[in-house]
Each structure stands twice: as C-alpha cells, then as structure tokens.
C-alpha cells in the first residue's frame, strides 16, 4: 500500500517535471552573470580558475555560510555520538607489518598531495574543499591501516577553529581596509597564473583546506571510535 502511494506520488511529480524541463534548452548559455565572471574574472580577482574566484571572491560570503553548515554538521555528529560514556580501552589486534609500513609510507604523501591541491586552488582544478577531503582520506588510511593510532582531538579542534578564524579575520580586514563589503580582495592581485597571485584567495583556500581536513578527520575519528 505504502509503495503504491509512493510510486503514484512520484509519477505525478515526474509528469510535472517532464513538462517543465522540456522548456529548458540544453547546452546554451542561460545566465549572463556566468558570462560576466568568465570574461571579467581574471582582471577583477586575479585567479585563473574562475570557479575559485566565484567561490571565494564573488560569493565569498556564501562560502562562509557553507563552511558554517559543515562545522554545524560536524558538531552535531560529535554531540549525537558523545553522550555515551567512554568505554574502557579495548585491545586492538595490530595490523601486519606490510600494511603498517605501507600506510606509514603513504600517509605523508597523501597529506602532501592534499596540500598541493589546496595551495594551487586558484590555478588548477582543485581548492580547499577538495584538498581537505584528500587530507581526510589520509586519516582514513591511518585509521584502517595502522589500527590504534589516533589523532588528538585538541589539535584537530584547534586547527579547525584557526581555519574558521582566519577566514573571518581576513574578511573583516577587507571590510576595514576597503570599507565597502566583507571579504574585499585587498592584497595585490599579482601576475596571472603564478602561485603568488589573486590576493586573499590562496590564503582563504589554505584556511578552508585545513578546516575541512580537520573537520572530516574529526568525523572519521568519531565514527571509527563508535565501531571499535
């Protein structure tokens, strides 16, 4: 009965949507604001990756909100799982030598790759969110491969808070210097396609990279603690 009602409801919604998306052309330019960002983005922000300039310059305030959503979700996960009393330390079977050595060898390389991704966010496809996810994947490797090693919760919380603080402080400095709006790009734009260009964008992306990486690592820590 329930599935019949659900399928009927979805068929009704699908009929409505099919009649509407028939009107949306595929593959044509639909918004002029996107064209403006592509045409003027390099001069206005100095970043050669236009997606980055949209994320951190034109819509930087949005990104602050999205980072806050991520923060609240991580806090909510901690709150949902932390009400339980701490279990006593259980003995964990250690990993084999090959697995242990392999993951110790790979861990710094994955961290380096994540760092490369978020430092070059304004030049290549990538950025703070992707780099942070790669950094967190290094911690998954440690949690699965080298059982028994854990990240310190204090360190991860400190890095996370510092990342958020750098974002807000840089935005407020832009407000104080320019006087027009939050997250004004007040540093010199530099030469296009070089590492030290695009003003505040690399600083913000490095802050976001650390913040996302430590937040997702904290999420992994909470979930793995639950499974032990």
């Amino acid at each position: 009965m329930r599935s019949i009602i659900s399928i009927l409801l979805l068929a009704f919604i699908a009929w409505g949507i099919v009649t509407v998306i028939g009107e949306i052309p595929f593959g044509t330019e639909k918004s002029r604001v996107g064209g403006h960002y592509v045409d003027q983005g390099r001069e206005e922000t100095g970043a050669s990756n236009i997606v980055t300039s949209v994320v951190l310059n034109y819509r930087g305030f949005d990104t602050l909100g999205e980072v806050t959503v991520l923060f609240v979700a991580a806090i909510g996960l901690g709150a949902a799982l932390a009400t339980r009393r701490k279990k006593e330390k259980r003995e964990i079977e250690p990993a084999s030598l090959v697995l242990y050595t392999g993951c110790r060898f790979l861990f710094p390389l994955i961290l380096l790759f994540g760092g490369y991704i978020f430092i070059h966010g304004h030049l290549t496809p990538g950025g703070g969110f992707q780099g942070g996810a790669i950094v967190a994947s290094a911690f998954i490797l440690v949690y699965l491969g080298c059982r028994g090693r854990r990240i310190s919760e204090t360190v991860s919380k400190t890095i996370e808070s510092l990342g958020g603080l750098v974002f807000v402080v840089v935005g407020l400095v832009g407000l104080a210097v320019g006087g027009h709006y939050f997250l004004l790009n007040f540093l010199p734009k530099g030469e296009l396609n070089t590492l030290f260009s695009a003003g505040i964008i690399p600083i913000l992306y490095i802050a976001i990279g650390f913040k996302v990486g430590s937040e997702l690592a904290g999420v992994i820590d909470h979930l793995m603690e639950e499974s032990e």
């Binding site: 659900s6 595929f26 300039s53 996960l77 979930l223």
Partner: protein, 125 residues
C-alpha cells in the same frame, strides 16, 4: 510521429532525464524502504542527482572548464562557473550531512537495537 518526437526529446534532454532519474530513484528509496541505512543511501543518491542536474544546467555545448591554465584559452566556449561553484561546496556538505545522518542512525540502533523503521513507533508512517 509520436515516436520521433520522443526520440527528439530524449536527445535534447538526456542529461536532465538522467539527473532526474537519479533524484526519483533516491526519493523512491526514501519513501519505500524500511531499513534506515537504505534510506540514508537513498538520500545520498538523491543528492548526487541534484548535483548532476545543476552541472547539466550550466553546461554550454562544446564548452571547456572555466580555467585559464594557459593564455591561449579563449573565453567564448566556457561552461557557466556559478553552478560548478555551488556544487563544489554542496558535495562536501553532502558528506558532512551523510555522516550526521549515519551518527543519528547509530544512536537509534543503540537505543532500539533495530534499524527497521516499521518497528520503531516514532519513525513509522
């Protein structure tokens, strides 16, 4: 006649249809399945469909990624960067929301000892 119209519609909108197909698969799983883990998997599929739809709306025929990796790249054939920027953050937030949902499922399992939504009174519909 009707058949060729349908083919024409499919040719022009196949990406939208794929994205909405994923959205409907996700919604159907959320509505029909009883296991909470399967409902969360449905939520994840639904989110993938929404992201694909946003990217498909921003696509421009034969467009390249909006990145000026070398000076010879021209601005005429570039896809819309705004949906890409939105989806970029939406993916990471989706991971966090998925983790939050899983943590709530863990708490529910610890409390009731079961993940079947038909047998949990507060979750029944």
């Amino acid at each position: 006649m009707v058949f060729s119209q349908v083919i024409h519609f499919l040719q022009n909108h196949i990406y939208y249809i794929g994205a909405f197909g994923l959205i409907f698969i996700g919604l159907l799983i959320i509505l029909v399945k009883h296991n909470l883990i399967k409902v969360i998997i449905g939520l994840s599929i639904l989110e993938t469909g929404v992201n694909l739809f946003l990217i498909a709306v921003g696509y421009i025929s034969n467009g390249t990624a909006p990145i000026f990796s070398n000076p010879s790249v021209e601005t005429q054939r570039m896809v819309d960067p705004v949906p890409q920027a939105l989806v970029l953050t939406a993916i990471v937030i989706g991971v966090a929301v998925l983790a939050l949902a899983l943590s709530l499922a863990i708490r529910l399992y610890q409390h009731y000892g079961i993940l079947d939504l038909r047998q949990i009174r507060e979750q029944k519909w």
